[in-house]
């Protein structure tokens, strides 16, 4: 059962700015944004294209460092870390899911899931075991030795979900996870994300689709011109849907 109380902040942005120089102009992709995401929350970062949500995702995912301001991931200030330290931190604490899946076609589905563990120095046998377990979790155990391009879009995104879980990160960062999928497979993928959230994972989803944001996220940050315009919260929890998912959850135990 999902814990509602004692939630500690897992991500905190304090007056974060990210400026780019475009010729003589300075583009303020993220302009003085502050936000806090608590452990176990399902958060959406919402905004039209050009609103700065991609930059925001890169900053939260520690792929990029802010021009100004501070970013705390699990209490640690990551805005001043070296490239190598950043790589280690995102490998360990953040699981990425991309719109275009970004699987490596030269590797099998399972090997794709094993790669993040390799960068953390886990032993091959351990990687293999955990990858098999994760492929089972996303219902793709029978397809795990296939190349990604032999899988459907929905299956590929599920492999990507399994990969994002490889190092048991605290945060899953999903960038338009259903953007390349039809409605039905998109819904399946969202189901998996909801399940993960039920298990206690913090999910941060970046999307331009207001319905997707409102239907799934507890907290929605609305971005416009690099600024957080408003924050909305779902008040009444998940209701009946939650019970359905509880049944599914038994599989994972």
């Amino acid at each position: 059962m999902k814990k509602i109380v004692d939630k500690k902040p897992i991500i905190k942005l304090k007056s974060v700015c990210k400026y780019y120089r475009m010729g003589t102009n300075i583009v303020k992709a993220v302009d003085n944004a502050s936000l806090e995401i608590k452990e176990g929350e399902f958060v959406a970062i919402m905004g039209p294209s050009g609103s700065g949500k991609s930059t925001m995702m890169n900053l939260i995912g520690s792929l990029d460092v802010p021009t100004r301001g501070k970013i705390f991931l699990d209490g640690q200030d990551i805005s001043t870390l070296s490239e190598s330290d950043l790589a280690q931190i995102r490998g360990k604490k953040i699981g990425f899911i991309f719109q275009s899946f970004n699987l490596i076609n030269n590797l099998t589905a399972k090997e794709n899931v094993m790669v993040p563990m390799m960068f953390q120095g886990h032993a091959p046998a351990e990687r293999d075991f955990r990858a098999t377990h994760l492929m089972n979790l996303v219902d793709l155990k029978d397809r795990m030795n296939h190349s990604p391009n032999e899988l459907s879009g929905g299956q590929q995104q599920r492999v990507a979900i399994a990969r994002s879980l490889a190092n048991s990160p605290e945060v899953i960062l999903a960038d338009e996870p259903t953007g390349n999928l039809d409605t039905k497979t998109g819904a399946t993928v969202m189901d998996f994300l909801k399940d993960l959230n039920e298990k206690g994972k913090t999910i941060i989803m970046v999307t331009h689709d207001p319905d997707l944001a409102k239907n799934h996220a507890e907290v929605v940050f609305w971005l416009k011109d690099g600024k957080i315009e408003k924050v909305t919260r779902k008040k009444n929890g998940w209701g009946e849907v939650g019970k359905d998912r509880l049944k599914k959850l038994k599989r994972y135990k």
């Binding site: 990029d64 190598s84 790589a87 995102r90 490998g91 590797l107 090997e111 790669v115 390799m118 190092n167």
Partner: protein
Amino acid sequence: MITDFFSLALKNLKHRGIRSWLTLLGIFIGVTAVVSLISLGNGLQLAVASQLGVSSSELITIQAGGLSGYGPPGSNVVDPLTQDDVDAIEKLSSVENAVRRNIDSGKIEFNDNLNFRYVGSLPNNKEDRDLIYTSLNIEILFGRLIKEGDSGKVVLGYNFYDKPEEWGGKSLTPGKTISINDNNFQIIGITDKVGSIIMDNVVVMNENDMEDIFGFGEEADIIIAEPKNKDKIQKTKEDIEKLLRDIRDVREGEEDFEVSTPEASLSTVNSILGGVQIFIAIVAFISVFIGALGIVNTMTTSVLERKKEIGLMKSIGAKNSHIFLQFFVESSLLGLVGGIAGALFGTLVGILGTIGINSFMGTELLPDINFLLISLTLLGSFIIGGISGIVPAMKAAKQNPVEALRG
């Protein structure tokens, strides 16, 4: 950890297109050249030596006019050597013995088949004859060698016996009769295989018989001289050269004759081979250099093509050093693949070349497959691949993750 990058690189290499493999042509050619040259080594030396008629004995060979282009030695010579020259050479204090030889091309008939073969003379004197046998490296296989007073008798080279297809399917063996320039001769012996296309096809007979058929008079095609002291063969050679210059009234450097020692001939062989080796080494070096540039090229392209993959790798926790290693290892393996292909092909060329030399020269050489050298070549191509990959791999490692992810 490093083994992971090897297996990752292997998986990536498996999916590489023909374009990547073509860039390995340079390394492939370079390694093929080196490996085939080495495995052919002694075969090549023997082939060149035999072409120049180098024998292993420590005797001096004198010919007029130097090496003639075609035909038996001594033919097409304006001012031939004579019996007087033989006698003069023999009187030199540093010469133990000098023997005259005549060689000509004879019309040989047997079993209604006609072939042209070299016919060589043997002196009547036993001591002189033994000198010739030594100089020609002749040993008997069947029957016996020519003795004093053997008139109307011949000894044949190994191929007369070994190649019946040249004589209407019949082997020439002792006891049979052949016709040489329309004179009948009895075969009394077959010599053992020498491994030289000339010596295995030669007919030898008593010099009186030879004179009767070919009529040389005083001319000598070749003079074989034995030095008194084998350690001073060079000095003996110089004595003979000086004597012949005086007799023939030519100045030093303008000789119309050639005095050759096995050492000198061997050094000729080695200098020819050395030239070939230097040439092949240069070709190999250039090929490998071009091959290295090819790898730089294909790896740079690969970094650009796989920009998105690099971004992804970084987003799932790859440090710059991981990305560097991945491309560096892949590049090294690329070089190694070129090396392996070259080593295999080079060995094949060495083996086939040796088989070719063996069947052409009648020798039984083995290809010189040097595993240490092959390992070193492979290590070299691995290292060259790695060096070629350094700059592209650094480029890959330095990619900004955000930009790289955009592809």
